[in-house]
């Protein structure tokens, strides 16, 4: 019976991956912001005083050109499912003992593994509505565009030369949401060794709307004027000041393969259980469609945990993630938390999760989240889980007010 269920679960996994792994129409959601006013920048109306075509280029996209890595950094991959809902064996009494220590963690890791020949299959749904970028509201961003020849300097003696320092400010409203359906499977090869994968299917919606206005270098509206006539202005032959772009994409995200080996367990009263986890994130998500980072990431994580009084398990995770595509995204990953069995069928999990990029690009170089969640085991092998990830520092990177996740987990 169990083997049939496992076979059915395996088939479902294959179908799930196959369904979303097919080729998709190439889009370009990634460059939505960059190309909002066209790939050549903003062209102003040709002026009788200045008949040369004048273009303004965005001086900084404030991290919006790194959306892929920002999106990835913002969402923590659910933990290896180490739910302990089964039995251990009491050698002295010769009987199995129902293990009610905890139902395990949600986003962080603990050292214990699933158990030999057990299969844990979990579906999760995560909704992320991003609201901040580097502390600024996503619906009130400002992009600054400068003239192509602004670096040649502004000469106050001539309005035409002074106008080189005119700027165009675009008030930008970004609606960025992500729905992630993840299939997570973990299999216990031995009592101490788990292997597993995470297959995310992502729906991403990015809509950007902007309204541009011209200012002089001192911030006066209208820009530099010759008499009462502005040198730069929008008109029927220029790029229009109002622009919008974006759309929706759905597809396979970056698949994560992982393995965890619990090399130290029940050693003595002081030393915690220890495990080593290796995680490989593959570039299966289309980078251009904002479904993946386009790079392969390798993470090594040392995990320590210990259960006290059969209900309280604190844990620490520390590791390093290597981004083979962009070394500036390499990050130290850490987590500190606990899971606690409040009732035999209810576990509370909480943790602080951090990711610090020592050589980061300046956007989202150190993000710290609080994770709170519960797992409920209503019937034997079924676990319902929900958690919320709350950014503790909204001034770093692309952030949501909170990230809720719900899931259902079954152990075969």
């Amino acid at each position: 019976m169990n083997s049939r269920l496992r076979a059915a679960a395996g088939l479902l996994l294959i179908l799930w991956v196959g369904w979303f792994a097919g080729p998709a129409d190439a889009g370009d959601l990634k460059d939505t912001i960059k190309n909002l006013y066209g790939s050549q920048g903003i062209r102003v109306e040709p002026s009788p005083f200045f008949p040369v075509e004048t273009r303004f280029q965005a001086s900084s996209l404030q991290g919006l050109d790194q959306l892929n890595s920002q999106l990835t950094s913002a969402i923590v991959v659910p933990s290896f499912n180490s739910s302990v809902t089964g039995f251990t064996f009491d050698i002295e009494r010769g009987v199995p003992v129902r293990t009610t220590e905890s139902l395990g963690t949600l986003l962080t890791e603990r050292a214990t593994t699933l158990g030999a020949r057990k299969l844990d299959v979990t579906f999760t749904y995560t909704r992320v509505k991003f609201t901040k970028l580097q502390g600024k509201d996503l619906d009130d961003l400002e992009l600054v565009f400068r003239r192509n020849d602004a670096n040649e300097g502004c000469d106050p003696s001539s309005p035409l030369l002074l106008a080189r320092c005119d700027i165009i400010k675009a008030n930008l409203k970004v609606d960025l949401t992500e729905d992630i359906f993840a299939l997570i499977a973990t299999y216990g090869l031995t009592a101490e060794w788990d292997v597993g994968f995470v297959v995310p299917v992502t729906h991403i919606r990015l809509i950007a709307k902007a309204h541009a206005a011209i200012f002089d270098q001192f911030g006066n509206p209208g820009g530099t004027k010759l008499g009462d006539i502005p040198i730069h202005r929008f008109g029927p032959n220029s790029t229009q000041p109002d622009a919008s772009g974006g759309g929706d994409e759905t597809g396979l995200g970056d698949i994560v393969l992982r393995t965890k080996y619990n090399f130290l367990r029940h050693y003595d009263d002081l030393i915690p259980d220890m495990a080593f986890l290796v995680e490989l994130k593959l570039p299966t998500g289309d980078e251009e469609r904002l479904l993946g980072t386009g790079g392969t990431n390798l993470t090594g994580l040392l995990v320590a945990s210990r259960t006290y009084a059969r209900w309280f398990t604190p844990h620490v995770n520390l590791g390093y993630e290597i981004d083979t595509k962009d070394t500036r995204q390499n990050a130290i990953r850490y987590a500190l938390g606990f899971d606690a069995r409040l009732l035999p069928e209810l576990t509370l999990a909480a943790g602080i999760i951090g990711r610090a990029k020592p050589d980061g690009s300046g956007t989202g170089d150190h993000i710290v989240d609080l994770s709170l969640g519960v797992k409920w085991n209503p019937i034997k092998s079924l676990i319902l889980r929900t958690n919320v990830q709350i950014p503790l520092d909204k001034n770093s990177g692309l952030r949501a007010d909170f990230i809720p996740t719900v899931g259902i987990e079954y152990i075969f």
Binding site: M1, R93, G94, P96, A116
Partner: protein, 314 residues
Amino acid sequence: MPILTPRIVRLLSTVWLLGAVASFPLPGEAANIVALKGADVDVYDEALDGFKSVTSRAQVSEYDMEGDLQRGKRFLARLKSGPKPDLILAIGIWALQVVVEEIRDIPVVFAMVLNPSTVIGQEARNITGASMNVPIEQQIALLKKASPQARRIGVIYDPSKTGFLIKQAERIAPDQGVRLLPKAIASPKDSFAALDAMQGEIDALWILPDVTVLAPESVQYMLLFSFRNRIPLLGLSENQARMGALFGLSFGSGRDIGIQAGEIANEILSGRHAEEIPFTTARRLKLTVNLKTAGKLGLQIPKEILDRADVVIR
């Protein structure tokens, strides 16, 4: 005219023989074995693997009770209403409990059961198997080797749980040059007085696989007793050795027990009756030696023991 003419006797004999042959799998025909697991624990899976490794010609189908006796009974009720298997493998005490209650006419082999005679009544003639119990001779011999001057071994026990083990030990002990000093208790709290009464009367202490004795406070008190009186304590597991017992002696592995059960199953499938085959004890053992404890007790553990130890705590 007699009713049983030679012809009728021959006919009846032939029918009986055919029936008997039909009731056992023919050579080349895979025996149908149902393995009932009491719960999903790794050591039971290991036992099942071991069992399958020596019954490779049999068709073994598994069922997990998930720790639920009622679930096990419902499964056996369904089993009885359909084609009967050639043999049932009961893995663990819970599986054995339901099988003892429900099955009378199918051979049963158990594995991974401690003190099986407390579950199986005298009337059950269809049940045998491989217990997890450690042979008593080996336990006493181990204490003697570690402490040759030991003559009196103290043990506390609940007669309703491990009285049969005490009877066996009392028969074996004189052959090993020791005398058993058993103290019967009826509840865990009696263990303190029982131990106090042994003060100065014993040279070694032995922990039995007895749930009344194994209350955590009782085990702690036995460890304390061992240190205070500087006498060795023989425990039941690596865990107890780590807690401070001089030795922990347990079954070697679930796989070994499963192999033993498989060998018994093969005998039954070859035509032997279950009642002809006695329960076995663990053939391979796991020995843990705590040298820190040995040092505190002033004992020199012989090299022979250390060489055979699976775990040495230094």
